[in-house]
């Protein structure tokens, strides 16, 4: 590990300690993880992906992934907020650096540690299909207005800016979308729905009508379809998988602690759960290697634009999301079997209730069945690559 990565992790460890301290409260009250996000801001971790010449640290996706995994071990909601913010930041870094307004804004994110939220989901039957919009940008000279019935905007009221998608103009087809940055003083939010869920209770992914008006220079010049394909899809699936890995690792660690305690109690005999622990750790290393392989694949693809736009790349990134979300649930379930009633209890040191509830969001958050449907269609075109190491 290089010195910068180690320094990042030291700073992240401090935020993780804060996240751990409040994680039960965040979960039980379904409230935003204020303390953890404040600690991340104080440790200047919100701008790590922004290039150095714009005030950031020029860190790689693997650095952000490591921090997601660290946070995921302590407070999955805080980890998810951090991940969503970094996904938005990476879209701006990848597609916004040629535009003066966005460059200035990236510098502000770094200087002021601004928190970004996302309004890509829409009501009216669009749902999680973020590649279609009903709402449209309406331009009036050098400004635009947009009103969106956003069925979900996570931590909307806590964010400093929102990246919102809509059709390019009122005549554009549903799939011809753009994305714009709107600042807190450029939008109003009317709440339409709450967030009382099994898990991931601190992301506060409530529904809102978002009404905004801003200068047209804040619209990203690239079509949203390209932003989604070239940065959002991969970054989202990699960072989500990374924080899910954190949840899985913390569950497996609890299971291991339980087995070791059992072994100490009855010296000379192998505890009941020990064999199952080998299965859990084998799944955990499978999860880890598939995430690391995806990060490497993404870093290579970024060097060749055609690769980033290829069907094979999209399939790999979709498969990562599906397999990581399933592995997470398998690992937490195995861990629960190992800890038995002590894992099932909410008041034991081996409790896995929160991990299990948080994990259950993973296959649903952009439903795996929807992603499988998309991948199935892509596989009609894709030629499988049978090579192993080249």
């Amino acid at each position: 590990m290089n010195a910068h990565a180690s320094w990042l992790q030291d700073r992240a460890a401090r935020a993780c300690a804060v996240a751990a301290q409040y994680s039960d409260q965040v979960d039980s009250d379904a409230r935003f993880p204020h303390e953890a996000i404040r600690a991340l801001k104080e440790s200047k971790l919100l701008a790590i992906l922004i290039p150095r010449d714009l005030g950031g640290e020029g860190a790689g996706l693997s650095d952000a992934a490591e921090i997601c995994a660290m946070l995921g071990q302590n407070c999955a909601s805080a980890a998810m907020v951090f991940a969503m913010h970094q996904i938005k930041t990476s879209s701006l870094v990848t597609h916004g650096v040629e535009n003066d307004w966005h460059r200035t804004f990236l510098r502000r994110i770094a200087d002021e540690q601004l928190l970004l939220a996302s309004a890509t989901t829409e009501g009216g039957g669009i749902g999680g299909n973020m590649r279609n919009s009903i709402c449209a940008i309406e331009r009036n000279q050098d400004r635009f207005t947009l009103q969106k019935d956003a069925s979900v905007i996570s931590y909307a009221t806590e964010a400093d800016a929102i990246l919102v998608t809509g059709r390019r103009d009122p005549e554009a087809p549903a799939s011809d979308q753009v994305m714009a940055v709107v600042l807190k003083d450029q939008y109003v939010l009317e709440k339409t729905g709450g967030w009382n869920t099994l898990g991931m209770r601190g992301t506060c992914s409530e529904g809102f009508i978002l009404k905004c008006s801003a200068p047209a220079t804040q619209i990203l010049p690239k079509p949203f379809a390209e932003i989604a394909a070239q940065s959002m899809l991969a970054t989202a699936h990699i960072l989500w998988s990374s924080l899910w890995y954190g949840i899985a690792a913390s569950a497996a660690q609890r299971a291991q602690g339980f087995v070791r305690a059992e072994a100490r109690k009855k010296p000379g005999s192998t505890p009941v759960g020990a064999t199952r622990l080998t299965e859990a750790t084998s799944l955990l290393s499978l999860m880890k290697s598939s995430i690391l392989a995806a990060i490497t694949r993404f870093e290579h693809a970024k060097l060749a634009n055609d690769e980033l736009n290829s069907i094979g790349f999209a399939i790999d990134m979709n498969n990562l999301k599906i397999s990581a979300s399933q592995l997470l649930n398998d690992i937490v379930r195995e861990s629960m079997m190992i800890c038995g009633i002590m894992g099932y209890r909410n008041d034991s040191p081996y409790s896995l209730g929160r991990q299990m509830r948080d994990a259950m969001s993973a296959p649903l958050m952009i439903n795996n069945d929807r992603i499988s449907g998309n991948t199935a269609s892509l596989l009609l075109a894709h030629r499988l690559d049978p090579r192993l190491a080249s």
Binding site: R131, R168, A172, P173, A174, S175, D176, P223, A225, E226, A229, D306, N309, S310, I311, G312, A314, N374, S377, L378, L380, A381, H382, R383, D385
Partner: protein, 84 residues
């Protein structure tokens, strides 16, 4: 070849506009072509021209316009289809 591609696009591309209103260089994604429809267009073209798109052409750029599709088909099919 151009006319054949336009017919296939009209049949499988689910475009928001009449394919004949589009110029050869016009952005098909701007005309409503989705990634799902792109796969259907690709399959129709493979069938009609009896070709297979190599992996390197399976990207967004290939299907960005009628002209780019035509160039790719011509490259794969070679001279035998150029007159079609």
């Amino acid at each position: 070849m151009n006319a054949k591609i336009r017919t296939l696009l009209a049949q499988t591309g689910r475009l928001a506009v009449d394919v004949n209103s589009l110029s050869d260089d016009q952005d098909l994604y701007g005309a409503g072509l989705t990634s799902f429809a792109t796969v259907q267009v690709m399959l129709a073209i493979e069938d009609a021209f009896d070709i297979e798109f190599p992996e390197r052409m399976l990207n967004r750029r290939t299907f960005a316009s009628i002209a780019s599709i035509e160039a790719c088909v011509a490259e794969i099919a070679g001279p035998r289809e150029a007159a079609a």
